[in-house]
Amino acid sequence: MKQNLFLYGLILFSSIILLFLSVPLIKMIFGGDLGILWETFQQEDVINSIFLTMKVSAMAMIFVLITGLPLAYIISRYNFYGKSMIEALIDIPIMIPHTAAGIALLIVFGRGPIADFFANFGLKFADAEPGIMIAMMFLSATYLINGAKEGFNKVDVKLEKVARTLGASPTQVFLRISIPNAKKDIINGCLMMWGRGLGEFGAVVILVYHPMIAPVLIYDRFTSYGLAHSAPVAAIMIVISIFIFLSVRFINNRLK
């Protein structure tokens, strides 16, 4: 009896949080007029902003995949002075207000010597796609790097040692043993980062108002035209995000 009470208690509290998480999404997706939803989906600026959001978030994820995997591997495999500082630095972006991060990025990349340096190569960050990318990267790289670090931690270092005795160089071991055996966590990290990037607003809106990513478009329509015009865009964004998120997760869970 006591056991049942405990279980009922667990289910009750779990249901409260699950309802809280799911009801707004369900209401957003199924509560609107399907006709308006379809009409909104055919609007060019909506399609463009959703495509831009996904593309730039994916680019940010790829950039961090290339630079963050080595960093995650170093943290996982080596002990060195300042390691905990680096780990803290990786975690800090998820703790600071996104608007504050946007201001910081604007100060560094929007003007001044660093902005001028990149301008020499034709790279502009304020009100340009690269600006969206760095804002997304800054605030969501943590998820990928920490995911990969966890993955590498799970790969027994003895696998790497044995691979070396079998003739593989450190780079070959990294590519053929370390990454493949940590791939589940790496893919999860990528997914988390990409998903987090899709929803990024606070930093992007300060650095890049135009071209508009989906969250900025939703905000813009809400402030300019009201709820009726912003809700369908939000619903489409949520449906697409959930669909992609679940697909990748499903594929990842089937990976050996």
Binding site: K161, V162, T165, S169, Q172, K183, K256
Partner: protein, 326 residues
């Protein structure tokens, strides 16, 4: 002929240190590094493989390889938990080295090794679907496929079900004979060492305490610590057997005879029975003689009982041939 020569090897890891290690391994020899857990034997094996930057020399066929990376040392390494690559199947695991080393007739080599190790029917299987014994054979096959000049085995029997240990020991010996491969094995089990080894080095606290032919090392320990590690009992001063020196001797508990009455052996002592415990097929008997204690084992098939009650007088005896000097 010296095949591998380790000279003045030292390596520090935290508070632990491999300290001035020196030994040789001959070509085709089965050499065992025997020591307790934490003695540094695996660290030493890993140092030979090139996983640690050590001080000192490791000469391999007359060439110092101590500065070479593991991929250039031509060693095969088998860990106690096998360290198979989970992302690759059995065939891919065995043939891993093919991409990085020149292996002549790789398919033929694979078939030859797989056939000898009974792995032919498992080649397409995933690693997680193998038993412990199968995993071990795959790990050995993977090392053999890379055509190493020396095979390094780290406690290869410790993750194996005790029921299969004897057959696997025989199997390790068969591999060694078939491939005439110089082998260094690490173990904490001196029975394993006594069956497999041509020569043994005793490793304790990061140092080598004794090296020699297996039977010599196991029967004539160089010092008290080695004797205790090897399970020698009744380690006592030689003054007890009438010798005028400060040496120690040991006598096998199975070679001590017990009687209520006076007996006739090279050495006979009268003592008091302190404890008598029945354990499965034998009695463990502890006898106090002066300020020393003897331990004797009495097989139940020879006699059932303890000869005397606790505190009573009892005679023990043994012959000169059963005495080992330390």
């Amino acid at each position: 002929m010296k095949f591998l020569e380790v000279k003045n090897l030292s390596y520090k890891l935290g508070n632990f240190k491999l300290d001035n290690i020196n030994f040789n391994v001959n070509q085709g020899e089965y050499f065992v590094l025997l020591g307790q857990s934490g003695s540094g034997k695996t660290l030493l094996l890993e140092s030979i493989a090139g996983f640690n930057k050590v001080n000192g020399e490791i000469n391999f066929g007359g060439v110092d390889i101590s500065k070479l990376t593991p991929e250039n040392r031509e060693v095969g390494f088998v860990y106690q938990d096998f360290a198979l690559f989970p992302n690759l199947n059995v065939r891919e695991n065995i043939m891993f080295s093919q991409k990085y080393k020149k292996i002549e007739d790789p398919e033929e080599t694979l078939l030859d090794i797989s056939d000898f190790l009974g792995l032919v029917h498992l080649l397409e299987r995933r690693i997680e679907n193998l038993s412990g014994g199968e995993k071990q054979r795959v790990a050995i096959a993977r090392a053999l496929f890379s055509k190493p000049k020396i095979l390094l085995l780290d406690e290869p029997l410790s993750a194996i079900d005790p029921t299969f240990r004897n057959s696997i020991m025989k199997f390790l010996k068969d591999i060694h004979r078939r491939y005439n491969l110089t082998t260094i094995q690490v173990t904490h089990n001196f029975r394993e060492a006594s069956y497999l080894a041509d020569r043994i080095a005793i490793v304790m606290k990061g140092q080598i305490h004794q090296i020699g032919i297996a039977s010599d090392v196991l029967n004539k320990p160089a010092n008290l610590e080695v004797a205790k590690f090897l399970g020698f009992k009744n380690i006592l001063p030689t003054s007890m057997i009438g010798e005028d020196s400060e040496r120690l001797f040991s006598v096998d508990p199975n070679a001590i005879f017990i009687s209520k009455d006076k007996i006739n052996y090279d050495y006979v002592f009268e003592g008091k029975l302190e404890e008598c415990m029945g354990v499965v097929d034998h009695f463990k008997i502890f006898i106090r003689v002066g300020d020393q204690q003897f331990f004797a084992k009495l097989l139940m098939r020879d006699y059932i009982g303890c000869y005397a009650d606790r505190g009573e007088s009892i005679f023990i005896g043994f012959d000169k041939k059963d005495v080992s000097y330390l």
